[in-house]
Symmetry: C2
């Protein structure tokens, strides 16, 4: 069977109505509302076909129809195509871009929290945002300073001005000269290198170059190397998890508990972020409907994610989690608006 034009129209009408009301949609409702002007009987026939084709479902024999995952997928694809056009058209009217009220915050952390909050408040769904991540982490600066007699503090700055610290306890005191030499050695060897490229052989080479006090120096180099390699946990900020209680289909104990767990433990959100980043080449925004979700605990939700770019090669992810019966239209434009806002904000003011 084929999804002809009339079927499409009816399907979209069903989904839109369902999104508004949250109740199964009957044939009469459609026959009245539509510009199609078909009788309810005709609609019924078409609906039966749509059920066969898997676009809609019947909770029970005498109820109306609700969209299936496949139905939502059709709707969302349709919507995304429309958006695409719209965006292109609106490209010129650059104003009205600041509806979301994000104040430039001094601290990245605060900014991200604010963004998450703004998202959840504006959409009434749960929201998350991951701190920006560098595709390639290049070392920019390393500095060792003696803090106490047998304690060194290492400061490691990577591109994008992310700073790592490490306190190193050493077995025997180190003299100023050695420390200076060590600083030189580390900086000349490692600066500009991508963290991924720092291999054991490079570390070994440095140790060899160290010469006489090889003992302490090796110790320190190892500690620094370890600290550099230790990858930070991906920081994720969430907001509005409680919004899920607004949607009865998610608010029963079982499901709510799963979603809340995902939000609290962050592990699953981290997976979601990586999934999104790995697809980010395609098109900015991704929509996962129900079973499509890469995250187990969100199989009953829809998840909308997008990548924002802070600078060349520095990306983060934002996400909205809500019921399948989500206002996709609004969510898509909110996310779109937000990512552009973030992009332009960062392009202007690098911190």
């Amino acid at each position: 069977m084929e999804l002809d034009d009339r079927k499409k129209k009816i399907l979209l009408a069903i989904i839109k109505t369902y999104l508004e009301t949250g109740e199964p949609v009957g044939s009469r409702t459609i026959s009245k509302i539509e510009g199609l002007s078909l009788s309810s009987a005709t609609i019924r026939n078409e609906m039966a076909d749509l059920v066969d084709m898997g676009y809609i479902l019947q909770p029970h024999t005498s109820a109306g129809r609700i969209p299936s995952d496949k139905g939502y997928r059709f709707y969302v694809d349709q919507l995304m195509a429309e958006k695409e056009q719209e965006i292109e058209e609106r490209e010129r009217e650059t104003d009205e871009m600041k509806g979301l009220l994000i104040e430039k915050a001094d601290k990245m952390e605060r900014l991200l929290k604010q963004v998450a909050r703004s998202l959840s408040v504006n959409t009434n769904y749960a929201a998350m945002i991951s701190a920006p991540r560098y595709n390639v982490n290049r070392l920019k600066f390393i500095q060792l300073s003696r803090m106490e007699e047998r304690r060194i503090v290492a400061v490691i700055v990577v591109e994008g001005n992310m700073i790592k610290n490490q306190i190193i306890d050493i077995d025997e005191p180190i003299d100023d000269e050695t420390l200076l030499k060590l600083n030189m050695l580390l900086n000349t060897t490692l600066n500009g290198m991508a963290i991924e490229d720092i291999s054991l052989s490079i570390i070994a080479k440095m140790k060899r170059q160290a010469g006489d006090q090889a003992g302490i120096i090796a110790e320190v180099i190892d500690a620094v190397a370890e600290s550099i390699k230790a990858d930070e946990e991906l920081e994720i900020y969430t907001s509005g998890a409680n919004n899920i209680f607004k949607y009865p289909e998610l608010a029963d104990n079982q499901k709510a508990s799963e979603i809340i767990t995902a939000f609290e433990e962050k592990k699953q959100l981290t997976d979601l972020v990586y999934e999104t980043l790995s697809h980010s080449d395609e098109k900015g925004i991704q929509v996962y409907i129900g079973e499509e979700s890469p995250v187990e605990n969100m199989k009953d939700c829809s998840v909308v994610t997008a990548t924002y770019e802070l600078d060349e090669g520095i990306h983060g992810t934002i996400g909205i989690i809500g019921p399948k019966r989500m206002n996709y239209d609004k969510v898509l434009s909110t996310i779109k608006k937000l990512t552009t806002e973030l992009d332009t904000m960062f392009k202007k003011t690098q911190t």
Copy 2:
């Protein structure tokens, strides 16, 4: 009316039974179970008195009784007194202390997460732990290094080896000599000082001592001072928020939403921590029952908090949030066990 011995016994019996079953307790149940050997009629009379005195409640005329906040309070006080004794007795048998399986983690953050997790898994309630906080923050070490021509990175170490970083952009280049002087100046002036004691006059004095290049130096000093003063947000780790869904009295949308919000936004948990720390002089563990809770969103829960000591003057808070019908006995001993475990762990291995 007075709470005589028999009333006490009956009250405790009611509460214990209720904690086990979660159902209103009737007079017959008590008359059968007890060693008191009183008829249900007598129990009924006593129960009526207990209702008058506010220790128990009747959900409706023909139902059994459930404890009121006041009743729980009585029970908990009783229990705490017992515990006190037990602890003193057990002081000698030092073994069996390691039931909770906390592995010494390299990173404080990981350790804390683990503790929270352990708590929530062991008790089946929601758990939180705050990162240790220093009552007095003494500066230990300050180091400025030039990273790029007009960019300095400041490393500030406070007692307990907490490290703050700050990147400072300066208007004009700074030469090595000035930088060295500045480092000396900052360290000699500020080292050992409590952050709270760093006043504007001290900052002004440093600026005066700076001499010639007052411009840049003032700039840097201000940035450092600001960074020192900027107080970190209190870090709080939570685990097992989803446990609340196991208790029907907390699992309805309204209440669950409130509790989840408190856990997500952390603000209220922060308040809870400060509240606890401010009372920590009294006795280790505090129990807030229902309305007693310092946190608005937890008026339907019981909250058990305790302070752990990492070192002289360095405290953190752990907390358990569950239904009023909580297994106080278990929670109290779990927390007790955990705090001692943490205390001894830190006493041994300072990081």
